[in-house]
Symmetry: C2
Subunit: 352 residues, 2 copies
């Protein structure tokens, strides 16, 4: 018992398939009588149009593909949420493909999207992924969101370097000197840009650098935190490559009996929702993640409408100071730091 096709409907309504199509798509002229007969048949047969077939003949899928490295963590779920909201508003669907650990896997995923999507958003924070993507998807428009700002390709990139510099400058301003960086994984462009910003800002401040490599996960931040707590000379501040690791490190410090921020100040990156919910609240570099996702989707939809777009938009993260780097009596200077969120975590925007 196969589902009804447009031909079944045409037969039953005693009209041609063209008329059925005209009624259903609203394109082209039909008499009221025809329309009624068609709709009756549709109802009787419980006909539902086959989107795949429709896509093939119109070469329009109303679907955007999203290529992610991994679905884990609030960063990506926030991003997807922003995209999803925008997609619904535009009448688009979202097809996600995640857990691509290397560039080859990502490019295979991109290829498998051919004929399935009208456009792609690629988040592959690996060198070369964007290049591999080029040409592979025919003329499918691609918007990249990896760290490698690539001219002449539509992209949205975060100013990782500037954000990292701001983080270090903030820690220096509140009197910290032994500032350690927990970095993201090697080969990840975002991670490397953040580390570079840290190194540069420390040099500018005349301070020595120490880097522990993490993996952007809470667990890796926790491990790093335990190692730091065990040192003879403990750091008085930690700048983590993202909020996930910062939270992991915070828990490790608390387990080890170190006080945050009294003994060690902590700064993250991203401003995931969790950052304002842990105690103490986490100072971080805020990216409006969902909003960025929304923008990305809207741009790629416009590109799917054959609008040319080769802009490289830079998202500048904003320093949000919470309790994790903010003493009642700082080591010196800067007593009037922005203390919003310390008492009232941001609960607004819950439903976007």
């Amino acid at each position: 018992m196969k589902p009804a096709t447009i031909r079944d409907v045409a037969l039953r309504a005693d009209v041609s398939v063209a008329s059925v199509s005209r009624v259903l798509t609203g394109a082209g002229p039909v008499t009221e009588a025809t329309r009624r007969r068609v709709l009756e048949a549709v109802d009787a047969l419980q006909y539902v149009p086959h989107s795949g077939a429709r896509s093939l003949s119109t070469s329009k899928t109303n679907t955007i593909g999203v290529i992610l490295p991994d679905l884990y963590g609030e960063y990506f779920s926030e991003l997807i949420r922003g995209m999803d909201v925008a997609a619904r508003a535009q009448g688009y669907h979202l097809i996600v493909s995640s857990s691509h650990d290397d560039a080859d896997e990502a490019s295979a995923a991109i290829r498998s999207m051919r004929g399935r999507v009208d456009g792609l958003i690629v988040l592959s924070p690996h060198l070369g992924a964007a290049n591999l993507a080029s040409g592979l998807a025919g003329r499918t428009p691609i918007l990249v969101m990896n760290g490698g700002a690539d001219e002449e390709r539509a992209s949205i990139v975060v100013d990782n370097h500037g954000g990292a510099v701001a983080a270090v400058e903030h820690l220096v301003a509140v009197g910290r000197r032994r500032i350690v960086h927990i970095s993201g994984p090697t080969g990840n462009l975002d991670a490397e840009a953040r580390m570079a910003g840290y190194v540069e800002a420390m040099a500018a401040a005349g301070l020595p650098t120490t880097v522990i490599e993490g993996a952007f996960t809470k667990a890796s931040g926790h491990d790093a935190g335990l190692r730091l707590a065990g040192l003879a000379v403990q750091p008085d501040a930690v700048f983590a490559g993202n909020d996930n690791m910062a939270v992991g490190a915070m828990l490790a410090f608390q387990e080890a009996g170190l006080r945050v921020p009294e003994d060690v100040a902590l700064v993250g990156f991203d401003d995931i929702p969790l950052a304002s919910l842990v105690r103490p609240g986490l100072t971080t570099l805020k990216i409006n993640i969902a909003e960025t996702g929304r923008k990305a989707l809207e741009r790629v939809v416009r590109m799917a409408g054959s609008e040319v777009d080769t802009a490289c938009e830079v998202v500048r993260p904003e320093l949000v100071v919470r309790a994790s780097s903010n003493l009642e009596r700082p080591y010196g200077g800067a007593a009037d730091l922005n203390r919003t969120d310390v008492q009232t975590p941001s609960l607004e925007g819950e439903k976007l």
Copy 2:
């Protein structure tokens, strides 16, 4: 400049489209010479098969659709993560469609999936959504995960009632008497089953009930918490309909100067990752969310392989006691509650 089709490849390799197809799909016999010529042409033309067209002729999309009420919150992102991992393992894609607030919207979304997916997972916690879905999608297999356990349809449901009873019994066991429930939104089947469990268990314990309606969001839990803190006779325990609201309430209590768990004990539902990260750690009813998502996906894939499946699997949540309901010196009795997670939040499983 249109992307190459299988006919272009056939022309260039000087073979028929059938041979090209045979080489590319691996089905059917081809000589080594033919295979080489085809692959050369594929390479030269940068040919990538058009999945949409392939789906149309094979009636196989290798895609599963997921219909969600809303993408917000860790519950759904965890669920999607579990599904995504399983989908990748099975060679499937995931197409998500969320923010369906009522049953009509959800059924429209289901219809729009026709011809796009091999199966559907529907999470629409509204009465009747499952029924509306029936027949609408032709013979597309559907697995429902809403609260309304519907016989003769494949489904996965959480034992909300049993979980709620366990929550109340736990609070009673640690000596609490004035136990308030913050419920989920009216019309949400999960919310209503949890409330029913609360009411029943309270009655069984001979205690009076108080219910404040929330909306499953942190903000609504926060509002409810503030109202409770302002009462003349404050509750000594709160059972929230989900972890999101429990966390919101926890923050409200802390702002109001109430101590958790000393003044008021707190229990949530779901065990989202956040539950183990707030301080105090949140006692909750654990559903292995990602794991449930994985199972759902695997079942629907089997159903897409025309395996008959009308089972209704019940997920029984497990009480996880953390510090939010666990005093050093409980009001009386039960001193040796399980204290795992209090010091060491679960960081394992970070990468699944």
